[in-house]
Every structure is written in structure tokens, then in C-alpha cells.
Symmetry: C2
Subunit: 349 residues, 2 copies
DNA sequence: AGCGTTGCAGCAAGCGCTTTCTATATGCGA
DNA sequence: TCGCATATAGAAAGCGCTTGCTGCAACGCT
């Protein structure tokens, strides 16, 4: 049998109520009593029953973090930063919280189910990271769920995800559009006029925004885009490799390739090399995110740095109520263009 | 007010007990009744109260996954595989389980605290991933905790971590020693006699085992090791960069560098390049793990592939009781040597 | 000296669910 | 026709904790 509060109370010769108060430290208890209780707790090796506590107090110390792909450092870095602020163990004083990282795999159903599971656990807060799925029905369902969570007292923060108006969720959005535009403008500035674009999955906000930025840059410079220059794929290296071969097949005269993110860009680099093309002499390549490995690529990757860790930390603090929400509940986080070796002047110029 | 079981019962004109039984599906309920209940659940948008349920049933649907660094794909890949098997949402039929990924950051206290937190939540299972910390006191504390968890009915699986005898935990261990030995033997076979080694943090089992393998290979070939050839650091790129500069300073005649893992190896490559050395013509480099980006390095990295996803999946299945534990509760998982471009014959030969 | 404070501790009522045991139908064989 | 097995639903007793309220000293004030 496991040790209960009552056992501790008996051993310390106090009432269960007193033990509870000592443990929660939210009610005055005489020092001598407290000591006796703590001694009993220690001797009996007592561990609080979480569910019972959550039930009685109508709150839990669980905090959920939803990520699209836990194996992707993009999410790993954010999750890590969020968790550090959530304060799991090792955090500052105050209640220990259990950060729950949930891997949706980019699946709408899973996303929704995890939210329900978290709701079921009466999570204290939930942080949703990364781009949202652009499907009207799914969005509506998500918004409804989020609204319900907020109503139930769960703090919901969106980190690197577009705002969900009217839901009560706080949003820390990445300026994917602006970053995409800046990146492409950099390439145009170098003289590129024929740019291939490898986008992520079609129905993702991140994908759309980055592509919109790219197109805005083209438009701003009067470059007419050829439909053949855009290919969509997944957010991984493999996809970048294949998409690049496809782009090369469609139009071998491209002088630059802009990728949906750094992993895709790395795949693109590999494909270009395997096709006998030099980077950046023959083709320039640009990524997005500036993940740690990007600087190690040869040549190192020109990309847009997203302050993943900073944004995650801030989201974590907001989720814990340790930082005020931005005005209007929405903040846009800008990326920073990192010009490196993978981009250069086009061969023709 | 939130909707409770009783509300649903009232609406469906049945007793709370019946609603519970419909929801759990572990007791015969007439089809017509079931239907009525489900309709009420749907209409009221009822969400089960997890803590209450866990309290009453004395079980929970939480499964904990402890990782050293969630931002490191090494752990991300394992966690992802484990979670997929845990079945979270999207898994096969049967109870939905919430996989909780806990980031210890390699800190002993956090590791222990998370275990307590999971114990508090009455987790159904716990998977501990990655190398353990080699500190007698900490190990003893961990073992005691694990034993307690097991006694309380929580299934504990160690994935990529050395066995903890007498605790009742199932272990899926990586053969780090064998992999390290094979790797170094490959380099020796190419003709290298002066090999630098960049190890991970000193007090980690993974670090020690890989280094032991390395030394075993040297010894087997009668190569006497110079103490200056070994440097310890963290498991990240930065550390590899710095350690390499240090090694070069200590002995510029090294013809090969073996790194604690792929990230470190990438840092080593960068340092070598920045020092004007070619890979592998001047210095060969080898990593460990074979993470996805390793093949993209230029030249691609010679390394030892660890079946991270497979091992994680197996650990997940064992944790869920869907696969039998290996005989003796211990299984060793071997790595596979991947010979690629970063290793070649030494310049002197 | 009388009485309102103040400081601590205990009582007991739940929190919302699960589950054992009991009650009521229904069906069947004898 | 009666009795008993079978199927289904309900009553109620908790699960282990939190917390509002009450109780009771010891204290200080007028």
C-alpha cells in the first residue's frame, strides 16, 4: 500500500489538513509543527497523490507544449526554452510543474486530441508551437477548443503561430512574411532574376507566409514569376533534395533556390552538388530558421534567423503568468537575415 | 461550471455509473442506452475529468519520457519513436495516453525531480533515454526511485542507457563500447596512428563507454596513447570546435579526430577548416550516432549509426506491455559503422 | 478584570469519478 | 406455473486530497 496524507498525519500527530497545509505552504503553520510533519514525510517517503490533489484543488501542475515534430530541432529548441521557463524541476521556487511535450506529427486529428487530453488533465497552461494547419473546419475546431480551454482557466499561448482572434489565446507570431521578403530581396539585390522556391506543405500558415514574402519581393522588383519555379514538399532534407532535382529539370537556368527552411535548403545543396553545380557560383541557396547546423554547411547557409529560444522563453513566461501579455495579446517576432556563403552573385552577371 | 458525469447522466436519463461504463467500455451496456449516453456526451460537449478518473481508478494514462536534451535530435528522434508507440492520439484503438517528454538538461536533480513528479502523477510507464550520470550517490538515488516506481506498478524502460540491475527496469542498451571500438579500428585500418579524441562530459556512461571502445581498439593494435590526445567537452558543436583547436595546439601531427558524437564532429570539421586543414586529406574525422544532418556535411561524416528510432519504438512497445521484455530484462543494441567521406588514409602514409 | 484579536489546528464536506454490490427484468427449463 | 440463471442498471461507498469554517488558547487592549 502506498503512503497517504493520513499516514503522515498520524505519524506526525496532526490532522491531515495540517499536513496538506505544510506541503502547500499556503497557510500559517507553527514552525515546530511544520518540522514534525516534514520529518514524518521524509521518514515515510511520502509522495503526494497528484490526481487526488488536482481533483480537490481543481487545478493541476501540468503544462502542455504542442509541437509538430519533436525530432526537428526547430521545435526542440522552442520546447526546450519553454520548458526551462515553465520551471519544471530546477526552476525557481514555487510549484513544480510538469511540462508535457506532445508531438502532433503535423496531424490535425492528433492536434485536437492532444488538446482534449490536456483539457481532460485540466492543464494549467498550453503552448502551441509552429505553423497552423490551414483548413477551415480544423481551424474552427481548434479555435473552439482553445476558447474552451481559456474559459476553463487554462492559459493558452501560441508561439510561432498566427493569432487566433476571439479565442483568448496570446500569440507570439514569427514574421515569416517579412523574413521571406527580406531573404528574397537579398538575392535580388545580388542580381538574381530567376529564383526557384521550395515551399513546405501547402496547407500550412508558415508555408504560405514565407512564400507570400518571397512573392512580394519579386513583385516589388518587377520580376514576373514563372509558375514552374515553385515546388511544394515536406519540411525535411529529403524533400529539398527531390524538389531541387525537379526544379532543375523544369528550368535549368535558375540561379538561386530559396527553401522553406534550413533542412530543405541542405537537401537542395546536396542535390545541386550531385548535379555537378557549385554553390554559390552556379546556384545560390537560402534557407530559413538558422538552425545550429546551418552554419556548418559548406558553404554555410544564408538564412533568416528566428529567435526560437527567446520566443519560447517568452511564451513560457507568459504561460506561467510571469510576464505580461503583449498589448492586444499579439506580438510579432522578427527574424534577422544572416548572409553567409551559400548566396552570391549569379553566374550570368 | 464545467459539465460533469452527473450532468450527462441526467440528460441521458441514466445513472452516473452507466455513463462511466459507456465511456470506459468495460462493462455490458445495452446498445440503446449506450447510444443515448453518447448523444448526451456529444450534446453537452463533455470532457472527462482526468484527475478524478485517475484518483478513482488508481491509474493514469500518463507515460513519461525523460531526455537529456530535447533540442538535440538524438533525443528528439528517440522520443518521437517512443511517443508514436505509446499511441498518444492517433495510435491504435485502446486508451489514449498522454506522452510526457521531460527535459532534464542533463542535471541530476532534475532527473530525480521529474521522476518524483511522474511518480506523483502515478504514471503508467516511464522511459529513461540516453546515458546515465556516473555519480554513486545519484545512481543510488535513481535506482531507489526506479525501484519504487516499479513497485508501484509503473513500467520502467531504459532506452540507450545502461541497465539498472535489481530495480526491475527493462534495459535496451546501446553498444557504445563496441561502436567506438569499431570506429577507431576503421581509422587504424586506414593507417592512422595518431588519433585525437573528443569525449563528452566526463561523468556520463555514454562518454566513458565510447572512449573505452576507442582505447580498446588502440590497445588491440599496440598503439600507445598520448594523454594529450584526449579532451572532454559537452555534446555540442561548439564544444567540438574548441576541443579541436585545443587538440591541434597540443599536437599538430594528429591525423584523425574521433568525436563523441556527430554534433561534436561537425564542430571539429569547422575548426579544422578554419585552421586551413583539409578533410580527410590532412585530418580524418569521425562522429557517432549518424544523425540526419551527418550525411549532409561536406565531406559527409564517417560515423556509427545507432538505430535510434527502432530502439525507441521497441522501448515504447515494451513500456506499453505490447512487446515482451528481452530475456533477463536486458538487450544490447548494436550500432553500424558508416564509412563516408570524412575518413581517409593519413597524409604521411 | 473583561473581551475582542490573533494564531494555529482540526472537522468535515466535498472534488468527479470508478466499482462493488444489489435490484430489477427478462428468458428459460422443468 | 415456478424458480433460477442471465443481462442490465442503479445505489453508494470510497479514492486521497483541499479548504471553509469552527474551536480554542494565549494575548493585548481599554
Amino acid at each position: 500500500m502506498t503512503v497517504t496524507l493520513a499516514d503522515v498525519a498520524a505519524r506526525a500527530q496532526v490532522s491531515p489538513a495540517t499536513v496538506s497545509r505544510v506541503l502547500n505552504g499556503n497557510y500559517p503553520v507553527a514552525a515546530s509543527t511544520r518540522e514534525r510533519v516534514l520529518k514524518a514525510v521524509d521518514e515515510l517517503d511520502y509522495v503526494l497523490n497528484g490526481p487526488a490533489s488536482a481533483l480537490a484543488a481543481a487545478t493541476s501542475d501540468l503544462v502542455g507544449i504542442l509541437v509538430n515534430d519533436i525530432a526537428d530541432p526547430f521545435f526542440g529548441i522552442m520546447a526546450s526554452a519553454i520548458q526551462a521557463e515553465i520551471g519544471g524541476p530546477g526552476g525557481r521556487a514555487g510549484g513544480e510543474r510538469l511540462a508535457v511535450v506532445c508531438n502532433t506529427g503535423g496531424s490535425p486529428e492528433r492536434e485536437l486530441t492532444y488538446l482534449t487530453l490536456l483539457q481532460r488533465q485540466r492543464a494549467a497552461a498550453v503552448v502551441l508551437t509552429g505553423g497552423a494547419i490551414e483548413d477551415a473546419a480544423h481551424q474552427a475546431a481548434m479555435d473552439a477548443k482553445v476558447r474552451k480551454l481559456v474559459e476553463a482557466g487554462t492559459r493558452v499561448v501560441l508561439c510561432g503561430r498566427p493569432p487566433a482572434p476571439e479565442t483568448g489565446a496570446i500569440a507570439l507570431t514569427f514574421d515569416n512574411r517579412g523574413g521571406g521578403q527580406e531573404l528574397t530581396e537579398h538575392l535580388i539585390g545580388l542580381g538574381h532574376r530567376r529564383l526557384g522556391y521550395i515551399g513546405g506543405p501547402e496547407e500550412r500558415t508558415t508555408t504560405r507566409h514565407r512564400l507570400e514574402g518571397h512573392r512580394a519581393a519579386l513583385a516589388a522588383h518587377g520580376i514576373e514569376e514563372d509558375p514552374r519555379w515553385t515546388v511544394h514538399g515536406r519540411y525535411d532534407r529529403r524533400s529539398g533534395y527531390e524538389a531541387t532535382l525537379e526544379l532543375l529539370r523544369r528550368d535549368p537556368s535558375l540561379t538561386a533556390i530559396v527553401a522553406a527552411n534550413d533542412s530543405v535548403a541542405l537537401g537542395a545543396c546536396a542535390a545541386l552538388r550531385d548535379s555537378g553545380l557549385r554553390i554559390p557560383e552556379d546556384v545560390s541557396v537560402a534557407g530559413f530558421d538558422d538552425l545550429p547546423f546551418s552554419i556548418d554547411a559548406v558553404p554555410s547557409l544564408t538564412t533568416v534567423r528566428l529567435p526560437l529560444a527567446e520566443a519560447g522563453a517568452r511564451a513560457g513566461r507568459i504561460a506561467m503568468g510571469r510576464e505580461e501579455a503583449p498589448p492586444g495579446g499579439i506580438a510579432s517576432v522578427r527574424g534577422e537575415l544572416m548572409v553567409r556563403g551559400s548566396s552570391g552573385v549569379p553566374r550570368s552577371s
